[in-house]
């Protein structure tokens, strides 16, 4: 019966209030236990800090994507409107890109936003494994309604801490 690959048993504690959840998370971490995951029906402000998650780097990624979009837009407008097929629209100067630039600003703006927003969403989904058709990883469907769940590996003395922290239901799996 040497099932060494079997996962370590986890404890799942349910809470009924987001404020209780945050203080519970703080208490559990203060008692020295490591939280694996928290499931909530909506984003809870301040939870990431309470859990001690490291800062997201998506902002930097978004900035890079924005720059990429800007570069694409500059290249696109320059190639199409100046280099390959210069067009006289409303008598606006098309001798070089700079002279015609004010007309391109909406394009520059839109493509910057488009690239930043879309690539950021895709990055987020890929990093979190939330691609379309992915299986739900939710251990308890009630956390999609009005319950909050803290999941952590079982350990000695954990039950007391969880009970004291205001959990309404504790299950071991």
């Amino acid at each position: 019966m040497a099932h060494t690959t079997e996962p370590t048993p986890v404890v799942r504690a349910l809470y009924h209030d987001d404020d209780v959840l945050i203080s519970a998370v703080k208490e559990i971490r203060a008692a020295g236990y490591k939280i694996t995951e928290v499931y909530t029906p909506f984003p809870v402000h301040g939870l990431d800090k309470a859990m001690g998650l490291k800062e997201t780097r998506i902002a930097m990624a978004a900035f890079m994507y924005g720059l990429l979009g800007l570069t694409v837009a500059v290249t696109l407008t320059w190639y199409m409107m100046i280099s390959d097929w210069p067009q006289n629209i409303g008598g606006k100067p098309n001798y070089n890109w700079g002279m015609n630039m004010p007309a391109f600003v909406p394009i520059l703006f839109e493509l910057t936003v488009f690239f930043a927003a879309h690539l950021m969403v895709w990055t987020y989904l890929v990093i979190n494994g939330l691609y379309p058709g992915a299986d739900a990883q939710n251990p308890d469907p009630r956390t999609t309604d009005d319950y909050f769940m803290v999941e952590l590996p079982a350990a000695d003395g954990l039950m007391d801490v969880l009970k004291k922290s205001g959990a309404v239901e504790i299950a071991e799996a």
Partner: protein, 499 residues
Amino acid sequence: MKLLAGSLTLVGLVFLLIGFNTDYSSHAAEGHAEATSVAAHADDHAEVAHAGEAAPATEEAPANAVAHSEEAVAVDMADEATHTESAHAEGVHAEGDHVVEGVATDHAAEGSEAHPAEGHDEHAAEGHGASHDLSANRPWAAFLVNSIFFLGIGIGTLFFLAIQYAAQVGWSAGLIRVFEAVSMFVGIPLLGILFLAVTGGMHMHHLWHWMAEGIMDPASANYDPIIAGKEGYLNVPFFTIRTLAYLVIWAGAAYLLRRNSLREDVLPAGQNLFFTQRKLAATFIVLYAVTSSTSAWDWVMSIDTHWFSTLFGWYTFAGMFVTAMTVLNLLVMYLRINNHLPWINANHQHDLGKFMFAFSVFWTYLWFSQYMLIWYSNIPEEVTYYLPRFKGEYKPLFVAMVAMNFIFPILVLMSRDAKRIFGFIGLAAFFVLAGHWLDHYIMIMPGAVGYDYGFGFAELGGILFYAGLFLWVTLSQLAKVPLKLKNHPMLTESEHFHQ
């Protein structure tokens, strides 16, 4: 701090007095000796044009007619006879402003630095104008720039305070007293503008070109049919009444919001005047929606009397709002450093920083919307506004202003951490404030003084004067009462604010 504020006000006042007693025309004459001679021509031009116009004066000046007149001048301004003929032939109301800009384009296109032509511009810009030249407007214009800039701090904050109540905002409840203190300042720059309106009406200056003598009178040599067509709105009594109305509405709203908030403090615990405040705030916002636009048209846009832009009011408002957010950021930062606001944390500062960042972008959006439509359509009557600003001598200032108001805040304040670090906020605040001062300067100066601009005692004096009064009013209002509201229903929410 009170000592500092008082001395700033006094020094500013002295500088202002020096500024008002300086003769700005002398330095212009020294600078360009030829200017006067060309200016004489300009006056001739203007008179000739008016003579031509008096006969076939119709109500609307078609855009192409104006264009013709510009060409006429641009083609050969030395040959007066030709010009006279063409002006007659077209039956054009060749009014000063357009003539000027025509010349300005021509001159800028050559890329020459011919100052005589500019001398011409500024005189012809007054055009129909009376005997004195535009440089006499300089201290008044400088005072208007400072009045509008500092008004922005007060009115922007008052509007922000009203939003807090109307939208039932929770996070800012702990900062309401700071907003109140700043918004109580709104009356002072308004009094300054009222002073300018009255002195303008008394012909002590012609900052607003339409106030010039005889400009609405068909019999006068100064008659300008386009401006005369706007007489129903742009006349001195109505103008003064409007300015007075803004004073009453804005300063009144600031006073009432403050008074109710103080009354709320003495109520028994658990009772509040939140919904009274909310009604008051909502009423003010509706009134401000109208008055923010009309005040910008009155005080700033009517300087370039012929020109108009429908989004000018929002553009001015956006600039004022950013200025207010920046000053609030600095003030909250100052109070936090001195431990006066222990219930306010970096998250609140972050939110104020977001407003500063977002409205810098919003200002740029409106600025560009106005610019691009005019650039694209390229209609002479609209383009006149941007010629001195984008082709003339103001170009370096204009470009620097856009960079300071857009590129700096966006790069400095974009990251999350920067909005929480005092050094970054201070750096961005410096550029944003300087940039928006410059923005108001460029809005007002080309129309009011032509190219006789500069930065001297009048400008600096106005800044010190208002800065001193601002510190005095705000800090004494802050010191008078506890910095924390007692019965505001969202106070707890504000204390626990995090993100």
